[in-house]
Symmetry: C2
Subunit: 342 residues, 2 copies
Amino acid sequence: MSDGLSYADTGVDLDAAERAKEGLKGLVASTRDRYTLSELGQFGGLYAVPDHIASPVLVSSADGVGTKLKVAFATGRHDTVGQCLVNHCVNDILVQGAAPMFFLDYLATGVLEESVVQDVVRGVATACLENSCALLGGETAQMPDFYAEGEYDLAGFIVGQVERRSLIDGSAIVEGDVLVGLEASGLHTNGYTLARRIVFDVLGLGVDDELPGTGVSVGGELLKVHRSYLNALRTPLADGLVHGLAHITGGGIPGNLPRVLPEGLGASIESGSWPILPVFGALQEAGGVERSEMDRVFNMGVGMIVVCDEADAAAVIEAARADEIDAWRIGSVVPGDGVRYS
Amino acid sequence: MSDGLSYADTGVDLDAAERAKEGLKGLVASTRDRYTLSELGQFGGLYAVPDHIASPVLVSSADGVGTKLKVAFATGRHDTVGQCLVNHCVNDILVQGAAPMFFLDYLATGVLEESVVQDVVRGVATACLENSCALLGGETAQMPDFYAEGEYDLAGFIVGQVERRSLIDGSAIVEGDVLVGLEASGLHTNGYTLARRIVFDVLGLGVDDELPGTGVSVGGELLKVHRSYLNALRTPLADGLVHGLAHITGGGIPGNLPRVLPEGLGASIESGSWPILPVFGALQEAGGVERSEMDRVFNMGVGMIVVCDEADAAAVIEAARADEIDAWRIGSVVPGDGVRYS
């Protein structure tokens, strides 16, 4: 019998998974709020619907970090990608006016390294705390011969709530509304396959080399945390100033802004109305990428667009700057469809 | 400029992702119910909290298919793994008494094959329909040089609801309660790394070969759909017969049943009180796996355990059999802790 197979022989260590979870209990507990009923929960996470909302609508989104993870693998720094993931999801439901309630993560590894798992989940929990979002649960999967050694995939799911009458769906947008762009921290979580190709293959740089023209290392620049716009937009949302929101992710401004515009309306974007972050200039030049392709792949320094009445643009910009996020008038809503650059 | 890089050059085809999503619209729409407000949704999925629940508690769980996916890759059959995932998640929240509301999937691929994506999501949507669960959204990620050619990972996230007073947390369980085991269809989604090692490496079988002693091909046996116990347990739950539930997943009966038992109570399991499915005998024999290891890795033919009053055991068994799921008395709740086999 001692020659027989056991699960541990296959590389799956159930006890290691238990230990990793134990080490994360304190972290996860720190994100709980008064609606989190997790002490009751064993299999599923429990969250009471807040009773101060008359007609609650749940808003939910799923996302992954994508190939930004490859930069984490190359640098050995695993505590930021979880923040990117949570902030991305927070922004995705924020565009409909929703405030986060809870988050669950899915972390799939080949061989489970306890310290890496804990770093990843520490990032998730940190961002959950910053966004007043309970880390309600998650799955940590060990899948030997599925992921390369030292690699993993990370995805997440968020659920928020909004009063039904406060849902933002873009229907309030009218011709002449102003587009306010909110500053991105960098690439956020989009375009990494192209960016890595340019930086590592075309330029032949390593993660510790300086990314030309940025004054920052490749690893430092490419791991910059995807920004959450929740706090910057709390006041404009509460004051009813927001006609529509677009989170600028894969597809850039042309791929995301039209999704929120009503039929018959398009966007006119004024080129040069905001400072393109140096990282995008470096990537464009080194890769010989067409500007239109850059616009379609990257956020180009604008992570969120607020559509509002011209009279309210200054207040929106002010609110963002109070949260230390720069903001600019970058265009307006015009008859037509799609996005035109002028 | 024509020598410059574009995103498509890197293997990421944004248009292919759009086409795959378009082809799935009808499928996804078929799972909608009257609480699904998706016509408003662009970035996040929208779901109204049903207003007939006085004090709603949301119950949420995240899970992945795990290495059962490798069997799908080997057979080229991609329409069942999504069903396994949804049913697994449904069972995970069912153990707390929750009925599903909505589901989101995360599908990560290397190079996006439209037909495979559509097969996978067809499975997800099919099971969502069967479990009265809206497929509210999801993420399909293209991550070249992350996943091997023809491979993908699939995870999911479910949210259900339960009246606060109807939450099942095991606190109703008392000494002398009966354990009713509900029949599994096969391995469900656990223990695949060990099972594949035995079947493909030790026995050297291919997916079309018969798994010895089962009368079924390796692919047919290992792809059997993880069973949902939602319909089998609707009546016992509505009638208040259920003191506790344990979904038998990774860790087997010893790893899952104690999670639901109150402090000071353990389980006595009567060996031989249910028929061990042939697949487990075949795996144990070929792998020379100890019986205690088998019990700790596999469900051994019991996919769900219901803890109830002795007087209600017959009604629980009857309800399961009415849903064409066999069920048996497999043990009882005793003083102590953990699980003992007799």
